[in-house]
């Protein structure tokens, strides 16, 4: 029971993935409890600084999920998210943030099973990677420096 | 995905089939397309779909009947069933497994002893020579199955048309072959 239980934050869009996760519930498909969801109107709204915030505040992994390409409730929000993610990903990588801790995926309102699958695979993946202490350490040191 | 989670060991015959061949008997919904297409279903005491059903019931009596059935020995592994099964239930490997199990438990069907003794004779021929020695095989088979007169009509013609070798072909590295036998089938038979 003292196995490492990662904290994973999921940023999802209201129309596809949030509804998809609801369907997972309605169909009683079990998945790892490590993931907690924060609801956004659209992946287009997701400000990627949140990722760093989450890591700094103790998240070990992050899921970002919205509508499939072409299915966005707002026509193009998910495309903008995708495009920004492309850029941001390389930047994080460059900054030494472990991008393998971030899952970026599409889950539609009809894909309850898929949501469970994504959660489980992500959690398993993070369990292998272990807790993300070194990032938190780094950040805290910085803050100390700034304060000192 | 879901069945990964339960680790309960299933000791039913269906359970063993699942474990050794990955075939899930419960998947069969008894449409009978396999039995309809099976070329030997009329020689079988239980056509393929019935075998599936008997595995589904999980009743030891049914499992007994399966292992003692003619069906598993008549199966030609012609693969017609899987080629047409709407649920992709892979019957041929399952039949292979059931035959093995049937022999292990000494339940091989008597009426099918010809088939079995033929297979055994066949393997022995390989065990000795590394290859199939057809004349030897036929003779050996006759002895085992006590069907001395069968096929006597064609043997002469076969010789005349020189379709049978009088002498067996021997391969050089017969040691190797023997090993293979010892490490596989012989071992299995000890463990039973």
């Amino acid at each position: 029971m003292n196995e490492f239980e990662p904290k994973v934050v999921a940023f999802v869009c209201n129309w596809c993935t949030y509804a998809g996760a609801d369907l997972t519930g309605t169909s009683r498909i079990k998945y790892a409890p490590n993931v907690k969801i924060i609801r956004f109107p659209c992946t287009g709204r997701i400000d990627f600084m949140l990722i760093l915030k989450a890591f700094a505040k103790g998240a070990d992994g992050i899921i970002i999920s919205g509508c499939h390409p072409n299915d966005c409730h707002y026509t193009s929000g998910n495309f903008h998210a995708k495009r920004r993610w492309m850029v941001f990903r390389t930047m994080l990588d460059f900054l030494g943030v472990d991008v393998n801790r971030i899952t970026f995926s599409w889950v539609s309102a009809a894909e309850g099973a898929r949501w469970a699958e994504i959660v489980n695979t992500t959690v398993d993946g993070i369990k292998k990677l272990g807790p993300y202490d070194n990032y938190r350490k780094m950040v805290n040191e910085e803050t100390e420096v700034n304060n000192g | 995905m879901s069945d990964n989670h339960n680790h309960i060991v299933d000791n039913s015959l269906a359970g063993k089939v699942k474990e050794h061949t990955g075939v899930l008997a419960a998947r069969c919904y008894q449409c009978g397309k396999c039995s309809a297409g099976c070329p030997v279903s009329e020689d079988m005491d239980y056509p393929p779909s019935l075998i599936m059903r008997m595995l589904q019931t999980g009743d030891p009596k049914d499992e007994e009947l399966v292992l003692r059935s003619k069906s598993i020995w008549f199966c030609l592994t012609c693969e017609m069933c899987i080629a047409r099964c709407p649920m992709e239930v892979d019957i041929p490997p399952m039949m292979d497994f059931l035959r093995g199990e049937s022999i292990k438990q000494n339940k091989a069907n008597l009426a099918s002893k010809n088939i079995i003794s033929f297979h055994k004779a066949f393997l022995d021929s390989i065990r000795q020579t590394g290859r199939l020695y057809e004349l030897g095989l036929t003779l050996d088979f006759k002895v085992r199955s006590m069907k001395l007169m069968q096929d006597m009509s064609i043997v002469p013609t076969m010789l005349a048309k020189n379709k049978l070798n009088f002498l067996p072909e021997l391969i050089k590295n017969r040691r190797n072959i023997k090993q293979i036998f010892q490490k596989t089938i012989d071992k299995k038979e000890e463990t039973k």
């Binding site: - | 088939i115 393997l123 199939l132 076969m158």
Partner: protein, 302 residues
Amino acid sequence: MKLGFYPGCSLEGMSREYSDSVVALAKRFDIELVQIPDWNCCGATAAHNLNKELSLSLPARNLALAEKEGFTDVVVPCAACYSRFSTTHHELMHNHDLRHRINEVMEMEYKGTINTLNVIQFIDKYIIDKIEEKIVNKFNYKAACYYGCLLVRPNNILGFDRTEDPQTMDVVMRKIGADSIDWAFKTECCGAGLSVSATNTVARLSGKIVDDAEHRGAEVIIVACPMCHSNLDMRRSEINKYLGKKVTTPVIYITQALGLAVGISEKELGFNRHFVPVNFPKKAEIEKKAEVKTQIEEVNNG
């Protein structure tokens, strides 16, 4: 050009005419078929009926030997052997633990570089394009191409032609002038391994096949598997007993048909070894037929 060659036991014994015709045909196209040194029996149906590991080890040994010889393409004319080889290769490639186990059993290593070709694939790959210019006399008969089970099933492993109503053989036969008929028992099983042990069953299954071919006016049945051949040919007396009539439609190997077309002698092709006599009309007639046919074609085209 040299290619690996695995005759298998029946081609050494009962069906050596098949082996002869394959080799002779290959020679015509300057291909030397080199036997895998010290090859052993693949175990056929018997092995996998009784023991799985054995049924994989026996073919695996041959694959390993072939690999050692540095072959890539290995021609395996016997459909049963072909099926065992392909299945073994597939299983070992998709299951590493199993591969290690088998390697350990046969004390050899199979890496998985061998590409097994059945006779039709061989023809398709090395012969078909060059055949036209070599045709001496057109093989213009009504032919029923019989595939049996082991060439087309299981499709997910063999991936050769489609399981229902396959066509590759028919295409080849048309190339040499045959009129390949559409019939219903192309892929029905002949009884295969039960030939000796359950003769009645074989008589029935093969009977249906022979009957349908004859019924649709086939002058010859074309096969690519020694087991199919022995059941349809050697067992003809039982078959006729079952059908209650005398069916004389001969059964020949596809390589024999091609052999005839490119002018290899009937003797060389070993027709004399068949139980059901193979007596085609004399060459002259064939040629006449051919001329007429070509004339007609010209008329049609012009």
